[in-house]
Amino acid sequence: MTGSFRQRMASLHTWAGLLVCWLLLLMFTSGTASYFRDEINLWMKPELHGAAMRPASATQAGIAAVQVLQQRAAQAKHWFITLPTARTPYSRATWSGPDGKLHTALIDPATGAELPAARDTHAGAFLSRLHFDLHYVPPQTGRWIAGLCAMVLLVSLVSGVIIHRRIFRDFFTFRPGKGARSWQDAHNAAGVFALPFHLMITYTGLVTLMFMVMPSAGQAVYKDDKGALLSEIHPSVGKPAKAAGVPAPLAPIGPVLDQAQRHWHGRAAGTIGIANPNDVNARISVTRAAGGDLSNKQPAMQFDGASGALLATKGDDASAAQGTTVPATKGGGVGTGMAQGSAVPASSADTTSMALATHGVLYGLHIARFAEPLLRWLFFISGLAGTAMVATGALLWAAKRQRQSGAGARLVHGLNIGCIAGLPIAYGAYFWANRLLPLELAQRADREVAVFFAAWGAALLLAQWRPGRAMWRWQLACGALLLGGLPVLNAVTTSTHALAVITRHAAPLSVAAFDMTVLALGASLAVAAARLGRQPKRTPETLAPLSAMREVSK
């Protein structure tokens, strides 16, 4: 391989990018959609829209959830409550039944009533799992593939910056209607516009998978004791307790939640775990709601479930921890002789160390729970820019080889159509299926997912059959209709649609926001389809064929 360093980096960028671009399109689109996972959840469960109109405090919601659990599962070994947020307006109570199975109830925090079961759907969870599990492969395999794609993307980003001589000037250059040159400009613009985001989201994506894909450091230090590593990184608050078999009424949850909120300087609880409820050894663990800071690691407090007394705290901010005294922090937990990780160094017990805080922030940056509406939209737009960067890169590769007519070029053309124009069809079909599949259908949630892949598979196959301009137009128009038609579908199938929000304030705002967002996405696809129809067939760019393979090999 001869040629300058920059030329070698260019061929690396070209071929590494081509290798993973179609999978990256799937990961970027589903990951970007996941920023609005909670809103998508709400849109896809219209039965719950009513609860969204009656906000309630965390304490009020916690009291209501415990009441429901006392009625439904007083004898369960463990209760778990997720309190409502501004984005998810209902509480979720989970308990393990006598058969060991998990049961869930959704609770309206304002009325305290159990909500009727919503339609069976994986909703936003499917999209967020899709972007690292890849659905049809075993989860472990999917995550390895996703990790490899992220690594290749990281290398592509760095090599892209290296080969990009005039990174600032080129950013302001756009020469439309010039074939490969235009795709190059668009690729540069999309890449550079959100470069910090691209680097951040790629690296932090690897961080979310790091103990799976890079276990060597943990193995070197912890040998085979993987449990110890995980419990030191994610320490549980206080010590576990075994049920004594002596009944005792559960302490009221309201004062516990109020005390936690005071301890966290006004920030409310997000989740409550109750072990051995209604036993003398009951333990209540309260974890702070995410959202006020970058980290995904939130402080937690443990209370005695019978007396309501504070037993332990974990992960307090350094400033908060100084001013608080915890009575008997490690105080004689009952039946904890076998508590794992008895050699836990004190550093990770009460306040979080620098390394763990960094890990928490990097992880938190990826999942972006902290992002309030404006920043969340910026992340969403950056995610779309990432999608555009990958898409224009793939189109650029094809445009530079327009005059080649081998099977390889044909395959690439088809994959480009099937992934760039075909994926919007898949997302649109998924949302249509959510409204149109009969509610009583068996395994309805899985059927919705099947519709997603059936639509995408059809788009991919059709694109391979006839990869040309007409197929581009047809698929773009199809995606535009499906996405742009969703507000109409929502208005026809529910009473809580965008118009109800605007005219009567009778539906949650996020439902209208979803309708408007898919309408805008559909409109931009329609513009793309229309533009493709208007332009006459261009003469192929006269670019010297890039003999990159030869370049690599010299």
Binding site: M1, F5, R8, M9, S11, L12, W15, L148, M151, L154, V155, V158, S159, I162, Y203, L206, V207, M210, F211, M214, S216, A217, G218, Q219, A220, V221, Y222, L229, E232, I233, P345, S347, S348, S353, M354, A355, L356, T358, H359, L362, M549, R550, V552, S553, K554
Partner: protein, 92 residues
Amino acid sequence: MNTMPRSPLFTAVSRTCAAIAGGYAFAATAAALLALCLPLPRADAVVTATLLSFALYAAAALRAFAAPSAWRAWAELLLPALAMALAARGLA
């Protein structure tokens, strides 16, 4: 060191494998050694080393394509990896 002419495809594939497999070996052994050496509580050392490993991996993959030849790419990644693995074994 190698007089036999190699096909372009062979060299490209060789470099790619060096970047992916050799780069991983380099990053993984470096992370293990770093975790053993860092003067931090063990959980912190492991987290720090693992967080850094992906930057090392990216650098190693770039080096695999920047090296003068495919053989050099393999050698420059695997020899340090071997040395670091031995050092980590000695420390552990």
